[in-house]
């Protein structure tokens, strides 16, 4: 079986600083892979290289067996690879529903259609389903900027899943979200993974969140993978404890 995402010997250097070194891993369909590691271990750089926001110095990235190294984020988006951001990235003055429609690739289609076609671009029903799924149904017509931070995080996640994304990369979905909301977010992510076989890669600092959500973890330190395995295995790994607790 081809892996949904294949990363091979990916490296990224900024001048003399080697931020990511020879990182290789696979993510299979329906899997939730967690990427953890201390601050500055290269997690975000790795994400940005996978998503085409940075060009890797060496190495390749493939989605469903197709090499996508060097494609632009918008091209990857079209292939069904989407992401959420560490800092919120919703459109603050559009409504929640409009945010979802925009994320659902509405800009495809003819120029005339965009002007005179239906305003929901045929994505209204999917947007409503997604709002309900992420428990935002009652807030559909609220502008995104008026939602609480946690609700915006949910919206951000919902946007990443619009139009049947095949692979979603979540950058610190739990950051700054209160514990009650967090349990809800985790439960919804687990549900969409279960029900839609959605595949994701999660960067997260919140250990409890990652351990509960992910089926498999890789641990980065100084740009290298130092451990890989189930949450239980990783937690017991001496190299991980060493990396986190320092020397």
């Amino acid at each position: 079986m081809t892996a949904r995402l294949e990363v091979r010997a990916l490296s990224k250097a900024f001048g003399g600083v080697q931020a990511v070194r020879e990182v290789s891993f696979d993510v299979h369909e329906g899997e939730i892979l967690g990427v953890i590691g201390p601050n500055g271990s290269g997690k975000s750089t790795l994400f940005n290289c996978i998503l085409g926001q940075l060009a890797p110095t060496r190495g390749t990235v493939a989605v469903d067996g197709r090499e996508v190294t060097g494609l632009r984020p918008s091209q990857l988006n079209r292939l069904g690879v989407s992401r959420t951001f560490q800092l919120l990235q919703v459109f603050p003055r559009l409504t929640a529903r409009e945010n979802l429609i925009l994320a659902g690739q509405e800009h495809r289609g003819s120029r005339l259609g965009r002007l005179f076609g239906p305003r929901d671009a045929g994505l209204g029903a999917e947007a409503d389903r997604m709002l309900d799924f992420f428990r935002l149904g009652t807030l559909a017509h609220e502008t995104a900027g008026n939602l609480s931070y946690g609700q915006q995080k949910l919206l951000d996640a919902a946007m990443a899943f619009m139009s049947g994304s095949r692979l979603v990369l979540l950058d610190e979905p739990a950051g700054g979200v209160n514990p009650t909301m967090l349990a809800g977010l985790r439960e919804r992510l687990a549900a969409i993974n279960r029900e839609a076989r959605a595949t994701f890669v999660v960067i997260e600092h919140n250990m409890e969140f990652v351990m509960a959500l992910c089926t498999r973890l890789i641990v980065l330190a100084e740009g290298r993978i130092i451990a890989e395995g189930t949450p239980v295995e990783v937690r017991a790994d001496p190299a991980v404890i060493e990396a986190y607790l320092g020397h």
Partner: protein, 293 residues
């Protein structure tokens, strides 16, 4: 009372023209952080495109107006976007501001040197008759016409921005260009659209205002100031704000001219500007600027 009504209508008519100029101002700011200090000249110039088409090329009025709009879209829209704003934008807001001031001067002096320093009579398509709306309230059809055309233009723009997918993509571009680009919104094209809209609105404003005030190279000085003030008063980051700001200034300066003194007319937008900056810096309808961290 009847006087007041007449003044109100006249004020709304000029205000609607100010609003056209002010809207373009806020659109450019929102999508590409361009504060266009040549905006007044952008409203002055299209009238001269029409005059050249009419007098030099001998085209009929209606064709000349079309030529003026087309020339504005090309020169004040496309060329402005790619020749002036494009190369300067990445150097920050200030160099661009200075450049637009320079552009304003160039446009003004070019018209003065190459066309004429004299005010030019500008023909109108609107009938030059008065109608009585209510007993004692007589307004000119031209004023009503200006108001109607300007409001139509504004209505069309609002429909475009709020009622179409292209409009929503323009809003997305203004609110978060990075994510819009990742989602595949053609950000560059959306930005060009705002420049075209700005040029189009300026041309409409020019065609509406020139029959009233005559076409003169220096018209842009006041117009630019008023458009700027209207945008600030209404709220710099909102199209609605610019409309309200424009109408408000139009009405107030007509009232001031009638009840206070024509000498103070020009002070109205400035006084309003000072008051708003002192007491409500985000503008009457504006939101405080949200900046990404």
């Amino acid at each position: 009372m009847t006087d007041l009504l007449q003044l109100l209508i006249a004020g709304l008519a000029t205000g609607a023209i100010y609003a056209l100029a002010a809207i373009g101002f806020t659109l450019l700011w929102q999508t590409s952080q361009t504060i266009n200090f040549a905006q007044g000249e952008f409203v002055m110039v299209p009238a001269f495109f029409a005059l050249i088409a009419m007098k030099t090329l001998g085209l009929p009025l209606i064709v000349s107006l079309a030529v003026a709009v087309l020339a504005s879209l090309l020169l004040l829209g496309v060329a402005f976007r790619y020749v002036v704003v494009g190369p300067l934008l990445q150097r920050g807001v200030l160099p661009l501001v200075i450049s637009t001031i320079a552009l304003g001067i160039i446009l003004k002096e070019s018209v003065k040197d190459f066309y004429s320093a004299e005010a030019q009579v500008f023909p109108t398509l609107l009938p030059d008759r008065n109608v009585t709306l209510l007993p004692g309230v007589t307004v000119s059809l031209a004023q009503i016409g200006v108001l109607v055309v300007a409001l139509l233009a504004i209505g069309l723009l609002q429909w475009f921005l709020a009622g179409t997918r292209t409009g929503r993509q323009m809003q997305a571009t203004a609110q978060n260009p990075t994510v819009a680009r990742i989602l595949g919104v053609p950000v560059e094209r959306m930005i060009l659209y705002t420049f075209l809209i700005n040029a189009g609105l300026a041309a409409v404003a020019s065609i509406l205002i020139s029959p009233i005030y005559l076409a003169k190279f220096s018209n842009g000085e006041t117009l630019g100031l008023v458009a700027f003030a209207a945008a600030i008063v209404g709220g710099f980051n909102q199209v609605r704000g610019a409309i309200v700001g424009g109408l408000l200034i139009g009405v107030l300066d007509n009232l001031a001219a009638a009840y206070v003194s024509t000498a103070y007319r020009q002070a109205v937008p400035l006084v309003l500007l000072v008051l708003v900056i002192l007491f409500r810096p985000q503008g009457l309808l504006g939101r405080r600027e949200e900046r990404a961290v």
